[in-house]
Symmetry: C2
Subunit: 213 residues, 2 copies
DNA sequence: CCGCTTATTATACGCTTGAATAATTTCTGC
DNA sequence: GCAGAAATTATTCAAGCGTATAATAAGCGG
């Protein structure tokens, strides 16, 4: 009996591989096509191994969703610098690779369509969404203050909603039909539009000259 | 043998019922949970009947997607009135019920996540998306002309992309977490933002007084 | 009210799914 | 280098899937 050769993966690594394979399959075949067997093939193991690392397939999928959410928000949270450049960086990051590509959208859409079905996913979603929105609201508030504008609570909230919406929408367009847009065209459009909405210039990080008006 | 009683549905009606049941199931259980048996239960028939009206389940799902696309665009295309009010109406329609609700989003997301997998759905998607985008671009162009602005091709395109993005994003936010927003708050935010982006007021249809500046 | 068409049900089939279990290999500590 | 623990494979299982087909009921024209 020729049994397949294998090696034991280091601590935690196999878990990560399985999650990554899960996401690959969901992006490529949809939730419906992301079967244990497909995922196992992608991860280079056999299907049975999944249940050695996860209680069930559903649990693995949920953890995969956590990974997606984290990758969408962690880059935004890692932004440094002064308030006047952070907002701009945030916009650029969210509208360029690797946050904005068709794989991201496929994953995002697959999970979103399942959020109403699966309460576990719903909880993960809600947490991630609120985190993202709060991060942006803080960014905007800080930016306004740094530009000498009073942080009127309601106005700030409305700005956050609008900018969040604009970014989500442009991200969507970029993911859906990135080939229809010239290089960094979406970023440029976003910056111009947000400047108009806020009534303030978004000075590029490398060109700051103190013209804060 | 007690066979289930039934009645023959009028021409075309059963087809429509099946498509509607398909959409209900996709919205409620996701694509994975929208099985022939579930769909049949929802439509009040037995599963076998599906293949009397459609070549396959996939074909029925594709037709269901056409229905979704149509419902998203037909209301926009039916807008009448002068160029200065049509844009506003378009925005309002797309950010209020029934276009903006969680069911719409679930359906949209389910299909979008499948667009990369299924070429048939991809074709349907592309057609609908371009139609929507062109409709909006025309609306904006007409609006700008009516307000005495030269329809600079590139500027018009950029405006269309930005406004389309903003609307998509706000639609998304409204669908995802409509309970976080006050009544018609999203519409108000959209209108304010778009006015800022275009540098023109979006006069409400019932309050037109000729102040075209 | 009867016979024909066909819409509809009922049932069966082959296949895939997630899960469970048993068998086996790998690695670690001694 | 040998035991024992743990990771991995292999196999099996029941359930559910989409599809195919045969039986039956409904409605129509005569």
């Amino acid at each position: 009996m020729n049994r397949r050769a294998f090696h034991r993966a280091p601590e935690g690594e196999r878990r990560q591989d399985l999650i990554e394979a899960t996401l690959d399959c969901i992006a490529e075949f949809g939730l419906k096509g992301a079967t244990l067997r497909q995922i196992a093939i992608r991860a280079g193991v056999t299907a049975g191994l999944v249940r050695h690392y996860f209680d069930s397939k559903d649990q693995m999928v949920a953890e995969a969703y956590r990974t997606v959410i984290a990758s969408l928000t962690e880059k935004a949270e890692a932004i440094e610098g002064n308030p006047e450049t952070r907002l701009r960086d945030f916009i650029v990051i969210n509208l360029t690779e690797p946050v904005a590509n068709s794989r991201s959208l496929s994953l995002w859409a697959a999970f979103i369509s399942q959020v109403r079905v699966d309460p576990t996913l719903a909880a993960i979603h809600r947490e991630g969404y609120l985190g993202f929105r709060n991060a942006l609201e803080t960014l905007i508030s800080d930016f306004l203050v740094a530009n000498g504008r009073a942080p009127d609570g309601d106005a700030c909230r409305r700005h956050a909603i609008a900018i969040n919406g604009l970014m989500d929408g442009l991200w969507l367009e970029g993911c859906l039909a990135g080939d229809l847009f010239r290089e960094s065209e979406l970023v440029s459009i976003a910056l111009t539009s947000i400047e108009a909405m806020l009534g303030l210039p978004l000075v590029p990080p490398h060109a700051r000259t103190g013209n804060s008006n």
